[in-house]
């Protein structure tokens, strides 16, 4: 039925890209690292695996990732249900707002949580005055709770987007039929809805898990020195100790875990997904008419906003408030009193006060960020769509089964390792890109690519072949089938994929900091420059620029929502 040659053709571009910009650099750095070992390749492996330190790190990495993923699903699924099944005002805004955390660099998120929960900030000050305490009761940073909360904060949007999109096209008739046959709503959920949703839920869980598993900034900044994931340990071994053989072993270990998990996932996914009678949202979504649905919506939206936006609001608020120096120091300890409204930090941002060579006004940094994001969207969609298409055409073909798990690997790869890989590998023409600004969107595309594939494949798989066949029988050319059958069906998924590519590119900091050129700073890089210097003006400008980043992201996501392809011809 399906032509294997066509599958191979579809794979050409994505594979060429991955080989050139992922496997080749990664292979080069691993090869070079092991070559530096005095004792051969095997010994560092044995040493690492028998070391109690490495075992502890690996154990913690897996454990916190499982816990974080579970909690993220728990928080995200009710929201996904609401977004999928109900039509209400402000839905686009809610979707965009819940997506902002995903974009923010860790240092900014830490600043946001601290603006809320810091020893002298809103929550603690209120609690201290309410209960007459002398010490701030909540200490947020350097705790496991901080790690878990931050992971939920970052990744809930993945669940909301992937699951809600799929769910919104699920035919509610199936559930209704079960109800008519006497099943309670719990039973319907367990035996009808959840099994049908499994492809989307597992895809989301996999992405969330890999993100948590390779977590770096959150662990470092919010978790503090007592916690280390593999990624943190790789950074320490590479940068602080320059123990490249051990770092390489840890990288391989991390990749191995990602690969094993992805293999399990792909086996599972091909069994779970089936062609479904998809329905237009207009058909599947209800309005919030009953009091029960309204209550559900209020509670869910309230909870999501409280969790995902209060740190953002606290951060934005601080960028408009004087940071010092007027402070009162009562007998009970330290209390910061908000000093009133100021635009100083924004004024300072716009005013080129010190003629520094790498100074980029915020407008320039925003343009640079948007430019990189645009290239990333184009590249990631151009490469991800054929790959997803090939996967969806025939998930049982040996080629697809073999290739599928490898697509996720870039997500599970240490940024430090890959960044150094670029330096080692891309050193010769025509690939001498080491100093090229293009390296930034290429690195962003590597991260965005798996998201594009994961967002598109479930949608493409669920297209019933009969629809295409029917169109063909009725005389449609392959192009027409693409335009009038496939595109409307996957349009929304394309838009989800584009949003992911946009947000990944706008917010990426770790890899960007390693490879960006100083005269082309992205917004996160510019924020970091301010944050790493002492003085109220520097800190204030970092907060102000973070607030601008949130604004740009919000606008960007709302604009993408407007251009939703699906509305062109949703059936």
């Amino acid at each position: 039925m399906s032509n294997p040659l066509k599958s191979i053709l579809l794979w050409v571009a994505p594979l060429a890209f991955l080989v050139a910009f992922y496997f080749y650099p990664l292979g080069s750095i691993l090869h070079l690292s092991f070559a530096r070992s005095d004792t051969g390749t095997l010994t560092p492996f044995l040493e690492a695996i028998t070391s109690s330190r490495v075992q502890r790190v690996l154990g913690f990495t897996i454990w916190q990732a499982i816990l974080s993923t579970f909690l993220t699903l728990l928080v995200g699924l009710p929201g996904a249900y609401l977004l999928a099944r109900y039509d209400f005002r402000g839905k686009s805004l809610l979707r965009a707002l819940t997506g902002i955390p995903f974009v923010l660099p860790t240092l900014v998120v830490a600043a946001g949580f601290n603006a809320l929960l810091g020893p002298r900030d809103w929550v603690n000050v209120v609690l201290m005055s309410l209960f007459d305490l002398t010490e701030p009761p909540i200490h947020f940073i350097n705790t496991l709770t901080a790690i878990l909360v931050a992971h939920i904060f970052y990744n809930t949007t993945i669940v909301l987007r992937l699951v809600a999109d799929f769910w919104s096209h699920l035919n509610p008739r199936l559930g209704q039929a079960a109800q008519v046959l006497g099943a309670g709503s719990w039973k319907v959920l367990r035996h009808v809805t959840l099994p049908l949703l499994m492809p989307a839920i597992t895809a989301a869980a996999l992405l969330v898990f890999i993100f948590d598993f390779t977590s770096f900034g959150v662990i470092l900044v919010l978790g503090g020195p007592r916690f280390a994931t593999l990624e943190v340990e790789i950074y320490y071994q590479t940068i602080s100790l320059f123990n490249l053989p051990l770092a390489a072993v840890l990288s391989v270990l991390q990749l191995g875990c990602t690969l094993a998990l992805t293999v399990v996932y792909t086996r599972l996914a091909s069994r779970l997904s089936r062609p479904l009678p998809l329905r237009s949202q207009r058909y599947t979504q209800k309005r919030l008419l009953t009091w029960r649905s309204r209550l559900l919506a209020t509670v869910t939206v309230g909870f999501l906003l409280a969790l995902l936006t209060t740190p953002l609001i606290a951060l934005a608020a601080r960028s408009f408030i004087n940071l010092g120096p007027a402070r009162t120091r009562g007998d009970t300890g330290l209390i910061t009193l908000p000093q009133g409204f100021t635009l100083t930090f924004y004024r300072e941002l716009a005013f080129h006060s010190r003629e520094s060579i790498f100074y980029a006004p915020p407008t320039t940094a925003i343009s640079i960020s948007l430019g990189y994001a645009a290239v990333t969207i184009i590249l990631a969609l151009a490469l991800g769509t054929p790959a997803a298409w090939a996967l969806a055409r025939d998930s049982q073909s040996p080629l697809n089964r073999a290739l599928d798990p490898f697509l996720m690997l870039p997500l599970g790869t240490s940024a430090v390792t890959l960044g150094l890989g670029f330096i080692v590998a891309l050193a010769h023409p025509p690939l001498d890109l080491r100093a090229s600004p293009l390296l930034v969107p290429i690195a962003h595309t590597l991260v965005a690519f798996p998201f594009v594939v994961r967002s598109l494949t479930p949608a493409l798989r669920s297209i019933q072949p009969r629809l295409r066949q029917a169109a063909a029988v009725l005389g449609a050319t392959p192009r027409q089938v693409l335009r009038y059958v496939d595109l409307p069906l996957v349009g929304r998924a394309l838009f989800v994929a584009a949003t992911f590519a946009f947000t990944i590119s706008i917010g990426e900091f770790g890899a960007t900091a390693l490879i960006s050129r100083p005269e082309y700073p992205t917004v996160p890089v510019a924020i970091y420059r301010f944050l790493s210097r002492p003085g109220a003006l520097n800190y204030g400008q970092a907060l102000a620029l973070s607030t601008i980043l949130m604004g740009v992201t919000l606008v960007g996501m709302l604009v993408i929502e407007r251009f939703r392809l699906a509305d062109v011809g949703e059936f």
Partner: protein
């Protein structure tokens, strides 16, 4: 259709990247690789460009350790002509990996001997800065408590719960403070001192940003003592929100309480632009560049003829006897020291 488009895009991208102008009458290009804290005034760099009709391209490559690793890993096919930013805690790594060519700059004559740590002049000193304890002045005034003047003071019950430090495994000032304690108490005594700090409830965070902006009482926190830089107090004046007269913080600069970090520049082995690279090194050591350093990079010039900005002179306290350790000893023991520290402080 789709694969064709993407192939085209990639080819286009590669083409664009490959088509860099290489010959002709354009000025020559000198590439300078640095860490991400590098900054300089536009006009200062311009004087160099004009004088030698040269285009200067800067490559920032992450923090000090990361950028050095990149320079080492690309030594067979160097990314740049000059590397600036290796400090004395990483100097041995750079010298052992043999990435620099020696250069006896005439300007070394203006630089005190004690900054010149490499006798072969492969790495030439450019600037220095001290990692020192900082304190919030108001806290100590309001509590009628004298600020500490020595490391031993930190063990007194009066200073319980007051100090926040950075993790030496991750943070550069954190490592510098650990090295201060090793330099002062010796390899046999530093762990006992840290044991005392733990009993006095020292707080450890991973990075300077968290220590300074979240935990330090001058900003978001409750701890009036923080490991930061000797230059931080003047910057609190220069970057104050509203103009202020006196810095709200001060540095502890008693003997043996600060660690001196010295940053070096070197000509990368195999550069095809050796003549320009030498000119650049001379330029970095000249007063033109040296006097521009403090306000851009928050560290101080090593050239004795360079004049400091007035605000600096007014608020800056430079320690007379900071701790220094032999870079080779740091390189040899870094892992063991950090490991022992971790066992003592974090477990």
């Amino acid at each position: 259709m789709k694969p064709k488009i993407s192939l085209l895009l990639i080819l286009l991208a590669l083409l664009l990247a490959a088509c860099r102008p290489s010959t002709g009458l354009e000025p020559r290009v000198l590439t300078v690789m640095t860490h991400d804290s590098f900054a300089a005034s536009e006009e200062v760099i311009q004087t160099f460009k004009t004088e030698y009709n040269v285009e200067v391209q800067f490559l920032e490559a992450g923090d000090t350790g990361t950028s050095l690793n990149k320079a080492i890993l690309s030594k067979k096919n160097p990314l740049a002509d000059v590397f600036y930013g290796v400090d004395n805690s990483f100097l041995s790594r750079a010298l052992d990996e043999d990435i620099f060519e020696p250069y006896d700059s005439p300007l070394l004559a203006d630089i005190p001997e004690n900054f010149q740590l490499d006798p072969q002049n492969r790495a030439l000193p450019v600037d220095y800065g001290d990692v020192c304890l900082n304190y919030e002045i108001a806290y100590f005034e309001n509590n009628n408590l004298p600020p500490p003047i020595s490391l031993e003071d930190l063990l007194m019950p009066d200073y319980k719960d007051l100090l926040v430090v950075e993790n030496p495994a991750i943070s550069s000032p954190g490592l510098a403070f650990l090295l201060t304690t090793i330099g002062h108490f010796g390899e046999d005594g530093y762990l006992d001192f840290w044991k005392g700090l733990v009993e006095n409830n020292v707080l450890v965070v991973n990075d300077w940003e968290t220590a300074y902006y979240t935990e330090f009482s001058q900003w978001g926190g409750t701890r009036p003592l923080v490991v930061s830089y000797g230059s931080s107090p003047p910057f609190e004046v220069i970057f104050a929100e509203e103009p202020i007269e006196e810095p709200p913080t001060a540095a502890v600069t008693g003997d043996d309480t600060c660690f001196r970090q010295i940053e070096f520049v070197g000509i990368l082995k195999g550069t095809p632009n050796r003549d320009l690279a030498e000119k650049w090194v001379d330029f970095m050591l000249s007063t033109t560049f040296q006097e521009d350093i403090p306000l851009n990079m928050y560290v101080f010039p090593v050239n004795t003829h360079a004049k400091l900005n007035e605000t600096f002179l007014k608020y800056l306290a430079i320690p007379e006897k900071p701790v220094t350790l032999d870079p080779a000893a740091i390189a040899a023991n870094r892992e063991a020291w950090i490991q022992a520290w971790t066992e003592m402080v974090l477990r």
